[in-house]
């Protein structure tokens, strides 16, 4: 209570969380630093439980509904699956955390991070706002008719309970990893594992899915489909190969290969770095390198761009579908363009199409402006974010310079080290964010429907987590039986 007395009488946003502090569930911190193996198991289990949540919603209308998925190209990044419990994936926690942390960094929200009480309030605020976001999104989708035109009140309540309940558990799952039971960040671990599962499913998925009225079935995985296509009775050999590369109703090899190539390029970018040679001021002759990565803010810039994109498209969906009913010729549709309905998706027309990546490369030819607007959008938001994030996330040039001082190291060839660092870090973050944005835009404009952005975020998240895992392994992985099982080599 002492904290309250010292805080200024002025209203602060984080004080909104105060009444919730007592009953919002809070994961316990681990008793002490958990063994390496436990952390691995916790990280994996938590993410797998998340995957288990990709279960179809109950109480929604069966069969096809006239309102289709308007955010299909945003799902990959947020590990969201349509019409399942994870309809919105981990978008609400990620968006809330990124935005609130940015606002706090800009001092637009007053939080005194040196006070424990304030830190607690801040993270409780993130949790409450995330769950509230789940609730708002759920009701937007229910009211739009996405789950069925005339749902009974009971059905609406049940869908609400399922989506908000799932959202509640997702925030807690993230918290389990974040709090130190797992490695690094829950949100990033979930994205990485969910995306890798999706990739395996798209390439090697063995589930047979009926594709036409004659009862012919094709496997989900593109590679399996190619192999199986050689033996299928309803296809010729050449037809099977063409089909494997071109089918649009299930994952095809072209997109699969594109995603893999994109992942490879992200791996390359991840390892481009500027190595500053540093020397100790205490021990003579000790020279080391301090790498400044090109992707200084990793995949976070893409995450941020996609958060903004998500808000824009949800807003568009609310105006066009909820308020306007997506009626041809109405004022709203004339102004906002409305949606074109396909079998699965709602395709936005001009002007919303400017920020909608096309579903295929050929669709891009019908909306050529998107090429510029979408790319520019990703670059501008990404660079803006990266420039600001490096500044506020405790890793700006000043912080690094201070860290150097504390550890007694200086740059080997430069006298004015902080000046040099001040130049390098912001340039690195901005350039890296721009490079990643161009890469993602290229992939998305070729029609990857969110998988391109997804793989970029997943790979960079995997690298960020791997870094933490490696450090932990070197410190206390000595008795790790998992490492021994894998042949004792850290990845």
């Amino acid at each position: 209570m002492a904290g309250c007395m010292f805080s200024a009488p002025k209203f602060r946003l984080i004080d909104l969380a105060k009444p919730f502090l007592a009953f919002v569930p809070e994961i316990e911190l681990p008793y002490d630093n958990l063994p390496f193996d436990d952390k691995i198991v916790f990280t994996l289990t938590t993410a797998l439980i998340y995957l288990f949540g990709q279960f179809p919603l109950a109480a929604i209308a069966k069969g096809s509904v006239s309102v289709k998925d308007p955010i299909f190209f945003l799902r990959g990044v947020f590990a969201a699956e349509p019409r399942t419990l994870l309809e919105f994936g981990i978008f609400p926690p990620i968006a809330t955390a990124l935005i609130l942390q940015l606002l706090a960094g800009f001092k637009l929200i007053k939080v005194n991070f040196s006070q424990r009480k304030d830190r607690e309030l801040f993270q409780t605020l993130i949790k409450i706002v995330s769950i509230a976001t789940y609730a708002v999104l759920a009701n937007i989708f229910i009211a739009s008719g996405y789950y069925g035109e005339d749902l009974s009140l009971v059905a609406k309540l049940l869908i609400n309970a399922q989506l908000i309940g799932a959202g509640f558990f997702v925030t807690l799952l993230i918290e389990v990893i974040d709090k130190g039971h797992g490695f690094a960040s829950g949100a990033m671990a979930i994205v990485a594992i969910s995306l890798s599962t999706g990739l395996v499913d798209d390439l090697f998925g063995i589930q047979q899915i009926p594709i036409d009225q004659d009862g012919n079935k094709e496997p989900r995985g593109a590679i399996i489909n190619l192999i199986q296509g050689f033996r299928a009775k309803h296809k010729t050999l050449l037809g099977a190969i063409v089909n494997a590369f071109q089918r649009d109703y299930l994952p095809n090899l072209t997109t699969g290969l594109l995603v893999v190539v994109l992942g490879g390029v992200v791996c390359y970018l991840q390892n481009v770095r500027n190595e500053l040679s540093i020397k100790s001021t205490k021990v003579r002759g000790m020279v080391n390198v301090y790498p400044i990565r090109l992707l200084y803010t990793g995949g976070l810039s893409i995450l941020f761009s996609y958060c903004v994109l998500f808000y824009v498209h949800i807003l568009g969906f609310v105006v066009i579908q909820l308020i306007g009913g997506n009626k041809e010729g109405s004022i709203i549709n004339t102004l906002m363009g409305g949606y074109e309905s396909t079998e699965f998706f709602y395709l936005a027309r001009f002007p919303l199409s400017l920020l909608t990546p096309p579903t295929s490369f050929f669709a891009l030819l019908q909306q050529p402006l998107t090429l510029f607007t979408f790319t520019a959008f990703l670059i501008i938001t990404g660079v803006w974010f990266a420039t600001n994030w490096q500044e506020i996330s405790g890793s700006s040039s000043r912080d690094v310079a201070k860290q150097f001082k504390e550890q007694g190291v200086t740059l080997a060839h430069h006298r004015e080290e902080s000046k040099d660092l001040i130049k390098i870090i912001p340039v690195a973050s901005a350039t890296g964010a721009a490079a990643l944005a161009v890469l993602v835009a290229a992939g998305e404009l070729l029609g990857l429907k969110g998988k391109g952005a997804g793989i970029a975020v997943a790979i960079s998240s995997a690298f960020a987590i791997l870094e933490v895992v490696t450090v932990d392994f070197q410190q206390n992985g000595g008795q790790s039986s998992i490492a021994q099982m894998l042949g004792g080599r850290p990845a």
Binding site: L48, I193, S196, G198, L199, V200, F204, N271, A434
Partner: protein, 70 residues
């Protein structure tokens, strides 16, 4: 020169300077060698597929449940 709108000038110059600085930075950067890169790709690939397969097993559990109830 002097008659030009300074705001407009800034609008053109900022991206140009950004590209220039970025290029300079990139040239100073150390890129992974081919060998190093192949090793990374291999490690990431194996890791991704391994984790993906584990995740896919969870997804496989869904299939019979879905079949029974939907």
């Amino acid at each position: 020169m002097a008659k030009k709108n300074p705001q407009f000038e800034k609008l053109v110059e900022t991206p140009l300077e950004f590209v220039k600085e970025g290029n300079q930075f990139l040239q100073k950067c150390k890129k992974p060698s081919k060998q190093e890169y192949l090793k990374i790709i291999q490690a990431v690939g194996i890791g991704f597929v391994a984790v993906g397969v584990i995740g896919y097993i969870i997804k496989l559990i869904h299939i019979p449940i879905r079949y029974l109830i939907v």
